[in-house]
Amino acid sequence: MSEALLAQEVGTAPAAVPASGARQFWRRLRAQRSAVVAASVVAFLVLVALAAPLLTALEGQDPNTFHPSLVDSAAGGVPLGSFGGISAEHWLGVEPQTGRDLFARIVYGARVSLGVAVFATLLQVFLGVVIGLAAGLGNRAVDQVLSRITDVNVAMPLMVIALALLAVVPPEFPRPVLIALVVGLINWAGTSKIVRAQTLALKSLDYVSAARLSGWGKWKIAHREMLPSLAAPVITYAALLVPQNITVEAALSFLGVGIKPPTPSWGQMLTDADVWYQAAPSYLLIPAALLFVTVLALTVLGEGVRTALDPRSQSRLGGVRRGLLSRRKGGAQ
């Protein structure tokens, strides 16, 4: 039952999702200015992450070189100079204590943070979809077993399991991949609940019945008839998961099991920076602001995708904007 409610969270009633070709989708997405801006920001961030070596080469710095001379050793290693040591060489200043270049660490950190969050999300979505579909399509026994497994998954405290698992796996295993794996493996229940509820709803739809009459097997039907309809709620939910996973990585860093130094990540930086809030505010503010922008962009984009996936949105979109205008004009009809 709560599955159905979760499905409601991402706002889909399966029967009410008619007509939506890819072209329509793009048109509706483009019609929303906020979504376009958000998409550009996301694209920009991804680009920055991908071009990290290029950007740092442009700046002439790298993320791991220490500059002991740029910090005041006697004062705990606070960066010398104003605004955290911003200069022509160090565009965003340097890290306290080490004097490592902040800009370089930020752009490389984007790689890790976004990479981990996106990979973890993909894993969550993949597992959630497969398990949710299987539960929704399987017979009573399969559904029961999978639903209970989902409950177990929900009841697992992420931090505890992460701590335990991260200790078990040998340190040679690449940390970002491991974190993404752990987060992905422990946190798929939300997606699977949504998918299961959605699948159950879809299963009784006429077009699925029609496909059964045509002679296709269960999985073939799932693949052809259901997956496309599951995309809408799943994509919307995934947009919520990405920012959530970025903060999970930060929290793991806080507990000391995050990304391993010297690899920079935003979560790691935030963790290290929060005590520096008074002595070197820019050290905290820069990654915090970036994280905020990322989350904002992803949320707005997610909202945009959801709106664009909803065929009823066409009139609603036009409606809100024009409705506003007409109200200002004094409500003339």
């Binding site: 007509a19 070709g21 029609a210 496909a211 066409q314 003339a332 009809q333």
Partner: protein, 534 residues
């Protein structure tokens, strides 16, 4: 304009903005005298609802552009302030919506909902408002109104919900009642009851009635005047008897001709049934609902011969769909046997679904949908597939070049044709059509029925035709089975069942069918009252 009118509309236009602007209503003018009754009729999409909404200013804030002058119960809707509009809505002009299922808030008791509306317009205590709610519920014929006013909508049947909505409309004693397709979602029997209720209310309370409907029969029963609309414009307007008896415009005539009638001459000769393609013996199906068990289909036995059409009629919830789905093997019977021309294996049967929107996957092209059964049968050659699908599309009267189009690019009737093409693709011996035309307007409905007849003749198909509309079933069937509460209560040839029904249930069904003749309608209404009284 004189003061004797509740509605005066002059040059009304409603335009919906969007990628393509839709002019839903264009330059429409009409008026409704106090206590009068006017029907807006026309096919789907002709602008009836848009007009009705405009009367209460419901387009405001949605982006739709409304032009022209609108006066309702003395209020200039175009110029009125929000507060004035709110004072108009419900108090002076009330609206009854099409779908009683979704038009009430599922979370609150019916009585509270009515009381809430009342308290918006009148300064009365909560208790007084509740009392009034009970009063109006009683007025619209809800039995045991005191107790039922505490029920939530889901505890009401469709007909009762529609009555509750009408009760809400009555609460503030408005001058005008706008009913937007108040009966489309209901059975013939319930439909008749609601129409009778509206009729009675109008007479007794002296309200004006604006009835919006695509069913000319419904209009004939309930109003003094009709306004026929097409593509947002008025086509014809006049007293109901005149327009229906002697339509001045061709469009009106087409519309009338498409309405299936119980008294039309039978178009088909009963075919001699060949060997049975389907035999069902003692079918029974139960559903568990919590602790209760619902028997949806109970001990149904039937046979369908080659080339024959078996019509199944019955009111909503009588088990028609459940039976149909069992016949094609989509649903396991709880007990009973099914044989398909000698085998027990489901083979050579297909289904056409009731809802043309829900039966096609919005995300797959129609060509793909039709090709599915062929692919499943093992056909791999893309060219052969394409050719076969094109052939089928042509067969059902669709442009074969629209192979790669998506369902939303088709109208309801066209979609139903796609559904038929899909059912035909694997060359079935038997097709079960579950209310294939109930969602379509009369003109489209007539086309689809004609198509089915034609296909049956050409391909030697057997059909099971499920519907709640007796006139439609009569047109297409050789034999009729009447279902009631999961059982077949009467079975026989068309002539037997319609000519001399033996079961009282069948008789009640037949008496409830609306007629196009207002005079006859009055006679029937009286007859129905007697039936109820008896």
């Amino acid at each position: 304009m004189s003061a004797g009118f509740v509605v005066e509309v002059e040059g009304l236009s409603v335009t919906f903005p969007g990628a393509q602007e839709v002019a839903a209503v264009r330059d429409l003018s009409f008026s409704l005298p106090e206590g009068g009754a006017l029907a807006l009729v026309g096919e789907s999409g002709s602008g009836k609802s848009a007009t009705a909404f405009a009367l209460l200013g419901l387009h405001r804030g949605t982006g739709a552009r409304v032009e022209g002058s609108l006066k309702v119960a003395g209020v200039d809707v175009g110029a009125a302030s929000e507060a004035e509009l709110r004072a108009l809505r419900g108090a002076k002009a009330a609206m009854v919506f099409q779908d009683p299922l979704s038009s009430l808030d599922p979370y609150y008791a019916i009585g509270d909902q009515i009381a809430e509306v009342l308290r918006v317009h009148r300064k009365v205590s909560r208790r007084a408002a509740r009392a009034r709610a009970v009063e109006v519920l009683d007025r619209v014929g809800i039995p045991d109104a005191v107790r039922r006013s505490r029920s939530r909508p889901h505890e009401f049947s469709g007909g009762m919900r529609q009555r509750a909505l009408i009760a809400m409309a009555l609460a503030c004693e408005p001058k005008l009642l706008i009913a937007d397709e108040p009966t489309t979602a209901l059975d013939v029997t319930v439909q008749a009851q609601i129409l009778d209720l509206l009729h009675g209310l109008r007479r007794e309370e002296g309200m004006g009635l604006l009835l919006v409907t695509h069913d000319v029969g419904v209009a004939a029963e309930s109003v003094d005047e009709v306004l026929v609309m097409r593509e947002g414009r008025a086509v014809e307007r006049g007293p109901v008897a005149e327009v229906l008896a002697a339509p001045a415009r061709t469009y009106t005539r087409t519309l009338l001709e498409a309405v299936p009638r119980l008294d039309a001459p039978l178009s088909r000769q009963p075919v001699a049934a060949g060997d049975p393609v389907l035999e069902a013996v003692g079918l029974r199906r139960e559903f568990r609902q919590g602790r209760r068990t619902v028997t949806a289909v109970d001990d149904v036995s039937l046979t369908v011969g080659r080339g024959e059409t078996l019509g199944i009629v019955g009111e909503s919830g009588s088990g028609k769909t459940t039976l149909g789905r069992m016949l094609v093997g989509l649903l396991e019977p709880t007990s009973g046997q099914l044989r398909y021309g000698g085998t027990e294996k489901t083979s050579g049967v297909q289904m056409v679904f009731q809802d043309p929107v829900a039966s096609l996957n919005p995300r797959r092209s129609i060509g793909e949908a039709i090709a599915d059964p062929l692919r499943a049968a093992g056909e791999r050659d893309e060219k052969v597939l394409r050719d076969r699908v094109r052939e089928l599309l042509e067969r059902v009267g669709l442009d074969p070049d629209r192979y790669d189009r998506y369902p939303h690019e088709f109208s309801g009737g066209q979609r139903q044709r796609v559904g038929i093409a899909r059912a035909l693709a694997p060359s079935p011996k038997l097709v079960v059509c579950d209310e294939p035309v109930s969602a379509l307007d009369v003109t489209t409905q007539a086309q689809v029925i004609a198509l089915l007849g034609e296909l049956q003749r050409d391909l030697g198909l057997s059909l099971v035709f499920v519907a709640h509309d007796l006139a439609v079933v009569r047109q297409v069937s050789d034999r009729i089975a009447v279902m009631h509460r999961g059982r077949i209560v009467e079975q026989g040839t068309v002539a037997e069942v319609y000519g001399s029904p033996t079961e009282p249930y069948t008789k009640a069904l037949l008496a409830a069918v609306p007629t196009l003749d207002p005079v006859l309608a009055a006679v029937r209404r009286a007859a129905r009252r007697e039936l109820v009284a008896a």
